[in-house]
């Protein structure tokens, strides 16, 4: 048992959950303005590629992140223009974006680097690992909390920032209003379209950066289809967490845990089954949320009947 439930398991949990956390935060933004962005998986994949590209070309992880960020802005604007200005079906645009991402990354992989399958090179500079001395001293949790790469900590900070932004700043209120009651926002003189554009761009950046964590975080490589549907898991987490940053964070952690557990259990259970598990669990999660909501409804029904004295 101890070689399964050990430090490595929890460290891997954080590492696996982080891209989902970042991506889910982005999805959460667009969900708040009433858009469901299914294309985040493709954005993650492209972010992963361009981060590697940037890091390789300039020998710096900063450039890698910068490439991913700029790409994210462009992707966000692209998504906004098509789904809002051109009123395209979000679902079609999202899926098409994922297909474009797959095609483009493989194409560039073969054309720019001349390889198939994956690209790895000592020239790629990974994200820095950060050791926080006072964090390390905490018993039990210390080695888990400290020694992670940059984006893991960034993701924690962003969860708090997103929450504060959405619920404690006027701009956050405007963002939420543009999804819930855009006409109300428009009547007060602000443009819901501008809020949706902002949310789209934020989503693009966050999804791209989540890809950067995949390719520059612990491995320094890009491989075809690296995102492995994690973008869709992020969407599921947003649904599961009701677009609330802390809840979404917990959902993503759960996914990371199951995934990491699967990896540790590969010694005893065939790898395909363990790879399957996170996806099945996510589906079960989604169903559980809905069933719970319905049970709460039924309880309210019973209370309502009691009120009427029947």
């Amino acid at each position: 048992m101890s070689d399964v439930f050990n430090l490595l398991l929890f460290q891997n949990t954080l590492r696996t959950a982080t891209p989902v956390v970042l991506c889910a935060l982005g999805c959460l933004m667009t969900d708040q303005v009433g858009i469901m962005n299914i294309g985040v998986d493709g954005m993650m994949l492209m972010g992963a590629f361009f981060a590697v590209l940037g890091s390789y070309l300039f020998g710096s992880w900063v450039m890698g992140l910068l490439f991913a960020t700029v790409l994210g802005v462009l992707l966000g604007l692209f998504y906004y223009v098509f789904s809002i200005t051109f009123k395209s079906d979000e679902f079609i645009i999202g899926v098409a974006l994922n297909i474009l991402a797959g095609g483009l990354t493989v194409f560039l992989l073969r054309t720019l680097f001349g390889v198939k399958g994956s690209f790895s090179s000592p020239g790629i500079v990974p994200l820095p690992t950060i050791h926080i001395p006072w964090l390390e001293r905490i018993p039990l949790l210390g080695p888990i909390l400290s020694g992670n790469t940059l984006l893991v900590y960034v993701s924690w900070v962003l969860v708090a920032v997103c929450w504060a932004f959405l619920y404690k700043t006027p701009l956050g209120f405007h963002l939420r209003a543009s999804g819930e009651a855009p006409e109300a926002l428009r009547a007060s003189g602000k443009s819901p379209e501008r809020m949706k554009r902002l949310a789209s761009v934020l989503c693009g950046v966050l999804a791209s950066i989540s890809g950067a964590h995949l390719s520059l975080g612990y491995l320094t490589m890009f491989s075809e289809n690296m995102s492995a549907s994690r973008g869709y898991v992020a969407v599921a987490c947003v649904i599961f967490g009701g677009s609330n940053p802390p809840r979404v964070f917990l959902a993503a952690l759960l996914f990371g845990f199951i995934d990491a557990l699967g990896m540790r259990l590969q010694k005893y259970i065939p790898s395909e089954i363990t790879s399957m598990a996170p996806y099945v669990v996510t589906v079960v999660m989604m169903v559980a949320v809905v069933v719970l909501r319905q049970r709460r409804q039924a309880a309210r029904e019973r209370a309502g009947r009691a009120l009427d004295g029947r």
């Binding site: 679902f91 095609g103 399957m276």
Partner: protein, 378 residues
Amino acid sequence: MKTGFMQSIRALIALKPRQKLTVQYLLSLLIAVLLAFLVGAGIMLLCGYDPIACYAAMFKGALGKPRAFGNTLAKTVTLCLTGLAMSLAAKAGIFNVGGEGQLYLGGLAAAVVGARLNGSPVWIVTAGALLAAIAAGGAYAWLPGVLKVKLKVNEVVTTILLNSAAIYFCSFMANGPLKTAERGIASGTDAITQTAWFTPLIRLSNLTTGVFYAAAITLLVWYVMTRSTVGFEMKMTGTNERFARYGGIRADRLALWGMVFSGAICGVVGFLEVFGLHHRFLTTISSEFYFDGMLVAMIMRYQPFGVILMSFFFAILNIGGSAMELSAGISSEVMLIVQSVIIFFMAAEGGISDIVRRNAAARRVRRNARRAQKEARV
């Protein structure tokens, strides 16, 4: 006699607005394709290839030799079936994005049952495998379908996640309990008896007698969707589910059946791959077949006739793309990029034409108002 004439004139005039829309749509499609080809040409130039040579290689590679043509037709069949599977469910208002997983499971079931029935007459082997494929695909689609219909769980996300689950599961089965004892097969099940294999129609190509199964299914789906009463009810369910329920239509049941049949068709695609091509289940049985078919369906707005036509075009792009890679050297993924540009443009077509129309109308209005003002002053 006169009234009949007047009636037909009235009918013609009544059809006009719909025809106008179709013409506009086809025109937009043409523009989208040209635009996409231009983008592709741009990418080719950037990478130092000659676009004309590449495109020529592509068309030649898809239609030049009988063998290539056979492959293109075979690909058309796959795209058409998966596209129709998507369209059928979409018509009832439910998005089946899990066709890939249903395809895998259908293929696995067909291969396993077919191999188990080795020794029985050919028609039993074939029928048994076909039924197994239909059941497997249908059942696996039923799950997310019932979740959506009864519990309102988003079917796009569940079907995509279940895709991964199914593919991993099939991989596990093909590498584990169901792995064939034959040497040289990396991850696959036992082969079905040679007598049950489909016969190729064009030598050395992928086109087999399986195409007749596909034609039958295509005809059936086209009929159901466009000419049947069930299709009418599905359309009502898909366009406004609450209205359908209010009108007495069993919307739940229709949506669920749409999903199940969609999955069944995908299972059949797996069956066709096994019996026509690989003769066993391999983990490489499909490479995103369903996604390609889904794209076709989305571009042609789930209209069956359009799906059939577009499947042929996309098959050319697909087969031609691989051929292009071999002869011209450019990576075949560039055709994927071309395809996604077509989708983007077609998805935006409605919005773009709205904007164009609005600007034209506003300009016209301003012109008329200015003219009226001038006349009033005179």
